[in-house]
Each structure stands twice: as C-alpha cells, then as structure tokens.
Symmetry: none
Subunit: 411 residues, 2 copies
Amino acid sequence: MRAEIISVGTELLLGQIVDTNAAYLSKILPEYGVDLHYRATVGDNESRLADALRFALKRSDIVFTIGGLGPTADDLTKETVAKVMGDEMMMHEESAALLRKFFAARGIEMPETNLKQALMPRRGRVLPNPMGTAPGAVFEGDGKAVILLPGPPREFIPMVNAQVVPYLKERVGEGAGIIRSRVLRIAGMGESTVAEMVSDLLEGSNPTVAPLASPGEVHLRITAKADTVADAVEMIDEMDRKITAILGEHIFGRDDETLEQIVVKKLIERGLTLALAESCTGGLIGNRITDVSGSSATLLAGIISYSNQAKKDILGVDEQLLDKYGAVSEQVAKAMAEGARKVTGADVALSVTGIAGPTGGTETKPVGLVYIALSSDNGTVAHEHRFSGSRFDIKLRSSQTALDMLRTYLG
Amino acid sequence: MRAEIISVGTELLLGQIVDTNAAYLSKILPEYGVDLHYRATVGDNESRLADALRFALKRSDIVFTIGGLGPTADDLTKETVAKVMGDEMMMHEESAALLRKFFAARGIEMPETNLKQALMPRRGRVLPNPMGTAPGAVFEGDGKAVILLPGPPREFIPMVNAQVVPYLKERVGEGAGIIRSRVLRIAGMGESTVAEMVSDLLEGSNPTVAPLASPGEVHLRITAKADTVADAVEMIDEMDRKITAILGEHIFGRDDETLEQIVVKKLIERGLTLALAESCTGGLIGNRITDVSGSSATLLAGIISYSNQAKKDILGVDEQLLDKYGAVSEQVAKAMAEGARKVTGADVALSVTGIAGPTGGTETKPVGLVYIALSSDNGTVAHEHRFSGSRFDIKLRSSQTALDMLRTYLG
C-alpha cells in the first residue's frame, strides 16, 4: 500500500507556517503498513493542486491532502478533488446541522459561506471534526482513495487519530510489513553523552536506534520492522531493556509522556501537595504542571515573584538576603522555596530564580545563570546552573531542570 | 523566475524530523523575486529523486535540493543531480584540503569515504560550508540551475544566507517581480466573521488577501507582486489601510508581533504595573508576558491560585463568595483581580478562573466556562466566556482573551 501526502496552502509555500502536520502523518503511516514515498506542497491554486493530485493518483493507492477545507474562497481542496476523482458534491445535512449548532452554541449567526464546509462527496464518506467546523472527507474510486484532512493542527491531529487510523486498519490490515517505533525520553544528559553511552546500540539495522536532541531533553528512537505487531513490539522491548540497563533513571518516560505528567503522577501517588515560586521562568512551570489533567489534586499554588517586592511581600524572603546576595542567588532561591511552602502549606516547593536575558546579565551574574531550589520536610537544596541560548531556551531549560529535580527527589 | 524545493531524506518521510529548512527557504525566495510553486519530499532513493528532479526541471528555472550531501552510502543527491543534468563529478582539491583540515583540527583520522563530499560538478560551482564537512554545489545547464544544500539546519541556514542570497541577487536582480507579504493579526473575532467583513477584498489578485485561523486569533495575509520592493510595499500599505478601516482595533499587530508583546509595550509606555491572578490558565499568561524581554519593567507578580485555599490566603478572596458562587464565577474572578492588585500594589490586575477540562465540568458549569476580570483605578470588570476544544485549547483561548481584554483596556 503506497501513499502520498499533498499539503495545500500558500502560507506553506511562503514559509509562514512549518508543516508539522505532514510530519505527524508521516510518523503514523508506517505503523499501519503504509509506505510513504512522496510528499508535495502546493499553494491555494486549483490547477496546480489538480496536477499534483493526478500525478499522485498514478503512483499511489492513497493520497492524503492537508488543508484548504475552510469556509473561504481560497479553500478549494474539496472541489478540486471532486473534479479529479469525477465525483459530485452534495449538501451533507448532518454536517450542516452540526455547523449551525456550532455557531448557535456560541451565540453567533453563521455566515452563509460556512455552509460550503458541509458539502461532501456523493460516493465517499464524511470524517467528523469535533474540534472545528470543517469535516474531513474520503473520496473513493478505481480502488484508490483521497483522504481530505483539515489544516489547523488542533483539528488535524484528533482527526488522524480518531478517523484515519481506523480507516487504515480496516483497509490495510496486518502482515503488510509492520513498522513500529518507541521513543525513550532522557533528562539530565546531553545528546553526545547519551550517544556515546549507547554507541554500540546505534550500529544495528533492525531495530534501529537513533538519537535526537529536543530542547532540554534527548530522545532515543527505537524502530523495528517485522511481519506482525507482536514481533515488532518484542524487538523494541528487548532493545528498550538494553538501553535502560545503561541509562537507568535518566530515562524519564516513553513516547508522548512528558516530564510534567510523570511528576504530577508521582506527586499524586505519594499524596504530596506542591507549591511553586517562579522568577525567571515566569509561570512556565505552573503552565506545564497545569497542562496535566488532574494536576489540581497536587498543585496548591504558584507565585510568579517577578519583582523583589513580591519576593518579600508574598513569599516572605528576607530583605537582607536580597540586599546581600541579590535576587539571583542560592540563598534567595532557597528562601523562595521555603516561603512558598510556608504560605501555601504544601509538602514540597520548587523555586527558580535566574537571568533569562537577553539583557540584565553582568560579569559575575551572566545571562543563563539560574538557581533552582527544592524544599520539603527533608530540608532545602539548591543548585546553580548555567544555561545557554535564547530567552525562551533558558526559560525552557530552567523549567525542564526544575521538573527533573523534583522527579529525582520523588524517586 | 520559478523555483521548486526538493527535500531529500527518509527521516523526513518517516516523520522523524519536521522540515523547517524548506519553510526557511520558502520565506527567503519571494523576497528576491523568485516564485515558489511547489515543494516535494522524497526519501534516500535514487530513482525517485531522479524522477522528482526531472519533473521539477520541466516546470521551473531553479531547483533547490536540501539534504543527502553527507559521507554515507545513502547520501546520493550530488550523484543523482549530476546524472540528471548530464554533468560529471571531479575531485575539488580545495574542498578536499578543507575536509582534511577539518578532521585534523579535531585530531580524528578522516575516513576515506568522506572524500566523496569533495566531489563537485565540472560545470557548476562550489558553495563553501564553514559549519560542516559537506559543501553545497550549483549545477547549471540549459538556462536552469540546481542548487544543492546540506540538511542540518545549522549548516543549511548560514549557507542560504551567505551563498544562496547573493546568487539569487546576481541571477534575478530587481525588476523580475518582487513578492512581499504582511500578516495582519486579529483578536476577538472568528475566521469566518473576519472573512465576511473583508469579503470584497479577498477577491483581488494583486495584492491578494488570504485569511488564516491560528489558535485564538485570525491572520489576514496580504501578498503583493511588483517590479520593485518600494512598489510592493506601497501596494501592501494601501491594502493594509483598507482592511484597518474595516476591522479597526481588532487588528492588534502585524507579522511576528504577538499579543503579549503589544500588551507589554503599551503597559510600559503608560508607566503601568501589572499583576496576574491565574486559576485555570495555571501560569500561561505569566509565561507569555515573561516571554517578552523587558517585561520585568511592568510585571510585579502573578499568583497561580489553583486551590481555594490559595485564593483565600494569598489573594484574600472572601470565603463566603467561594461558598456562595463557587470558584468559577464572576464574583470570584473580580475578587481575584482586586486581591492581586491589593497584594502587589499593581496599577492593573488581570484574573482568570474557569474549567479547562476534560473533567470537572457540571451541567451548570460546563468545561470551557471561563470568567476573566480586569481591575484598575477605574473599577473592576468581568466577562463570562465559553470556549471549546481540549484542555490546552481552553487554556490558550483564555489567555488570548485575557490579554486582548487588557490590550483593549489600554487602548
């Protein structure tokens, strides 16, 4: 089973958007035995899209289009696919009713142009879109299929997971040469250190192991090819055990598990409550923790103590400490964590103070200098770090290191 | 002058890498009068790459390839382009010497296979690579050119800037049809409402206006083609004025300006200090505000009051209000904003309380119900909102709406 992806949108050709959707779908396809041989990007232009579609249908069994399903005049994927596939469009009443409901629920009158989104292929099927107003569609004919998916990632990803995956399972079945992969996520080590520690394992051809650096963490991707899912998973499990024997506790999660999910899970399992005192991270740690559903069971509060006054007034940091050591110091980091515990009554508190830059650094306290402290019944510990990169990088690395400090503390 | 980009690499087709290089180059090309009509991605496969090249050379004047210049056996871009262009490869002694020097400087013996990277087209030219071992190359013939660029972004981006841009300037010059674009960023309205309000302007062909939905905001992209940069900018300015006359204050920024940048700028201009009280956004607003360099001049503190206890203890919210109306209510939102002002002494405070889901909703207070309040010397105002989508979407839309409320207040 061969597939191609056609991403549609002038904003892609102008480089205003990076095509993460195509990468997401590319990752999914081999897991269901579908070979992706080709990807193309065209603008919002009917004749070029039609050319790309005809070309793709010659070579491939399934063609995915991404984008161009919106309500406006330059959204023309559906019309173009219908022409190329020789199908007709009809009003899909169910989708039209959902559209009306969507607008009514928001108390907005629906512009009539939106009804265009409920036009569907006569011979194909509709892919519901619970996250937006543009349903997807499957056009079928001559043993080939064109699958139309929406462009906004928050609509695209759920539709791939809920609609495309079952479709592929039904159409392709097992035994077609299955590829499975798993990502091991590692914190507290750099990419080259990880690569050196597992260097022997990087040489294999099936399964393969490939290192990949991601901001603040390192990923090792294990990919196995086999005839059945069970065989592929067994090969991955074996490699996972080998890598785990080498890297141990530095592996914090697998696949989509995030550091914040692991930390929230451990805190809830232990029945511990958490408080945060963030200076240079400015709420990023709180934001990450509260991205985890159920985090309200452990997070009591966070204080973004961006000014010295807030450090004193809300966290009770001693003015003398601020005067003597400065806001970016081990002493103040410790006082912030202790203050956050006191004011909230939390079991554990995490604090961060540092210089995110690009300005504000001095010779003795350069941009990237960050102190992270953890306070609990067992006392208060602080570490000094020096991070590099942009303001955004330094915030992200600080949050990552703080969450990893908490993870390690929780064991 | 028409161009196409071919990205080469099985890791792209497997979705292990997102193709940021192609987006980067896409953004550069129109600035030098080059029209990008098509982008393709192929794996490390000689025959498919050759097909893609032949196809691209039929339609376009310049073809860029990205990737496949490394020393290993699956790097075959240069060999394939040479065949398709009918050119020969020869050892480029200068590049070979640089390669040897590169390895010597690291105290590593150079594997002989690396010399492959110094093979260059006989008729073309070499693009030096100060960041790595793989030089780029230009193959020329029949008035067409194929430009080969390396895959690692840290090598690719400097080569585009230092080699490709001067090449394009020389080859294309001005007067060949310059393309410029500008994005108007709109908050507080949906995509279809925006499209309907400016529908007449969406019909034009030069400049074109295209709407695009982004989480929590809508973008309108104006694109103009002209003989000179000055003409293109003038056309854009004129269209910008027309759209601004219709959408007015709903346009909060242009191009890469974010809502948080605008808000921080306005606060600093007015000499106003800010405090935050975040419940369901969990620090996201603080994180966005502190992403802006210089935000410490206005943000005094934020309180992530995730528990009722924190709302009472830190923000001084009256227990009776919490009992009577619940934490997610207009009354508590107002009390949070007023409490944040009181505890920090800030001029303006913004508060958010709501149900981000996916659990925790009830019939009267469903997931997505969010109250946002703003408190200042002029009093306290709160609004009720109903957002849809995932937990992440609801947090993002809440933060976006809160920042836009503050922007509107600042005028």
